[in-house]
Every structure is written in structure tokens, then in C-alpha cells.
């Protein structure tokens, strides 16, 4: 599960990373957002949406994306 700040919500952590990049010689990088990734093994992946809604993400401020491997 990838969980990231919702579009339009100020993400100071992403901004701080973005501001550090030119000093390291990385140019032309914009719109940095820092989220988190949750890895897990699930017997029935169909319940993962509900898991994100109820616990892993706060959908008022975060979007989530489920990737099954």
C-alpha cells in the first residue's frame, strides 16, 4: 500500500527534501511528496481497501493505492 499526502495539502516534508536537492547537484526535480509504504501478506486482498480506509490512511488528508505482487 502506498499512502501519500492528498494533492493540494501542504507537504512540508516533501518541500524540505525538494529544497535540499539543488545543493546536491540534482536539478529539475519538482513536486516532491513524502508518503509511506506498508508491506503485508494477505490471504484475501479484497479486504485491503477497507483496511486502508479504517486504519492505514486518514482519507481526509491522505490518498492510498494498493498494489498486489
Amino acid at each position: 500500500m502506498l499512502i501519500r499526502p492528498k494533492e493540494g495539502i501542504l507537504d512540508p516534508q516533501g518541500k524540505a527534501v525538494e529544497r535540499a536537492l539543488p545543493a546536491l547537484g540534482f536539478e529539475g526535480i519538482e513536486h516532491v511528496h513524502v508518503g509511506r509504504m506498508v508491506e503485508l501478506e494477505a490471504e484475501s486482498p479484497e479486504q485491503l481497501g477497507e483496511l486502508c480506509e479504517k486504519l492505514l490512511a486518514n482519507t481526509l488528508i491522505e490518498d492510498y493505492e494498493i498494489q498486489t505482487l
Partner: protein, 211 residues
């Protein structure tokens, strides 16, 4: 009024909250997070700290505790519930209060005395604030609705909104007004020894809700 103060693993302000409740009310007791029994108290404080290590998001795990289930039921019945700092985060995560608390805009943990203005009365309160995730956020449409309903309880006075909260919001209530959450710490401002007793007014407001 008898107060109960919740105690989670990682709470750190429950002793001061207990003391503030004793100064303000007719007694206070700690309530352990694993118990659903609120022990007959008339109001509950969800205190500051770092409940369950603030893992995942601040307050995200604490809201599933048996004590919080009991608090949600009691709040639905009209019991006064005061969430301070981490307690405010817990109440938002639990859906008892609207909105969410995000990382401070400057990414710094801030610890200083702040001036608050009580919405409606215009009263000015000086109480300490100390948090890293205190930037109140709610979508504009929700904020408009809250303003109409009178759910904004406290705003930071001009120059005191150091965390970047929308519309300078420091504290909000539910629609009914019996659940209040705020980031600054009224329980640390109940004795002249520490510079201000303005925090007591927040406890008085909550006992007014009970009556």
C-alpha cells in the same frame, strides 16, 4: 464534577491533567486504556503525549483502545470530553471531532507559551503549547460548516500560529459542543507558580457543558 483522565502507553501529560482536574473539579482518577469501565466519572480528559508511540499517525492506534470505545459511547450520550494535544489527535482520528492534525509547517517541534482567543467571548488565554504535529487541517467546505455551527472553539492570536493551522484554529468542538479538542495545554496553566491560570477556563467551559 468527577473527572477521569485516560492513560495510554506513551501518555506523558496525564499527571498534570489529573492535577488540573483536581484543582478544578471535585476529584479525578486515572482510567487505564485497556478498560471499558469509565468508573462513573462525569467527564473525560484524553491527555497529551505519544500514545502507542504515535505509530502510523499520531492518535491512530489509541482510538481502537477499549477505553476510547467507552469514551465514544459516553460522548454520544453528551458527556464532556476534553482532548489535549495528542488527545485532540486521538479524538480527530476517532471521528469524534472533525479535521486532522498535520506536521507543523516548519517541521519543528515547538514549545512555547501561546495566546489563544476564545471564539464568541473574545477572551484571551495564555497557555503553553508543545507539539510537532499541531497543524490543524480540514477542507474549506467543512471549515465553513464548522464556522456556521460555532464549532471553532479557540484560535491562535495574531502572531501565535506557529504550526500553520488553517484559519488560525487551535481548538474545535463537535456539533453538540460536548467534545472539545485543542493543541495547547490548559492542564499546564492552572497554578500561578507556572505563570498563568488561564487553563482553568477551559476546564470550566467543559463543566458548563456537563450542566
Amino acid at each position: 464534577m468527577i473527572w477521569g483522565v485516560l492513560q495510554f502507553p506513551g501518555s506523558c501529560d496525564e499527571r498534570d491533567a489529573l492535577h488540573a482536574c483536581e484543582v478544578h473539579g471535585d476529584g479525578a482518577r486515572l482510567l487505564w486504556h485497556e478498560s471499558r469501565d469509565l468508573d462513573g466519572v462525569d467527564g473525560v480528559v484524553v491527555p497529551g503525549g505519544f500514545s502507542y508511540g504515535d505509530y502510523l499517525r499520531a492518535g491512530a492506534i489509541a482510538r481502537f483502545s477499549p477505553a476510547m470505545e467507552a469514551v465514544a459511547e459516553a460522548a454520544a450520550g453528551g458527556m464532556p470530553v476534553l482532548g489535549i494535544c495528542n488527545g485532540f489527535q486521538v479524538l480527530c482520528e476517532a471521528g469524534l471531532l472533525p479535521g486532522a492534525l498535520l506536521r507543523n509547517v516548519e517541521l519543528r517541534f515547538r514549545c512555547h507559551q501561546v495566546e489563544l482567543i476564545e471564539e464568541g467571548t473574545g477572551e484571551r488565554l495564555s497557555i503553553p503549547a508543545k507539539h510537532g504535529e499541531g497543524r490543524y487541517y480540514a477542507p474549506d467546505a467543512l471549515l465553513d460548516e464548522m464556522e456556521t455551527n460555532g464549532q471553532i472553539a479557540y484560535r491562535y492570536a495574531e502572531g501565535h500560529n506557529s504550526n500553520g493551522s488553517v484559519r488560525d484554529i487551535a481548538g474545535v468542538t463537535n456539533e453538540r459542543g460536548n467534545v472539545l479538542g485543542l493543541m495547547p495545554h490548559p492542564e499546564h496553566a492552572v497554578d500561578p507558580l507556572t505563570g498563568s491560570t488561564d487553563g482553568l477556563r477551559v476546564f470550566e467551559r467543559m463543566s458548563g457543558v456537563a450542566a
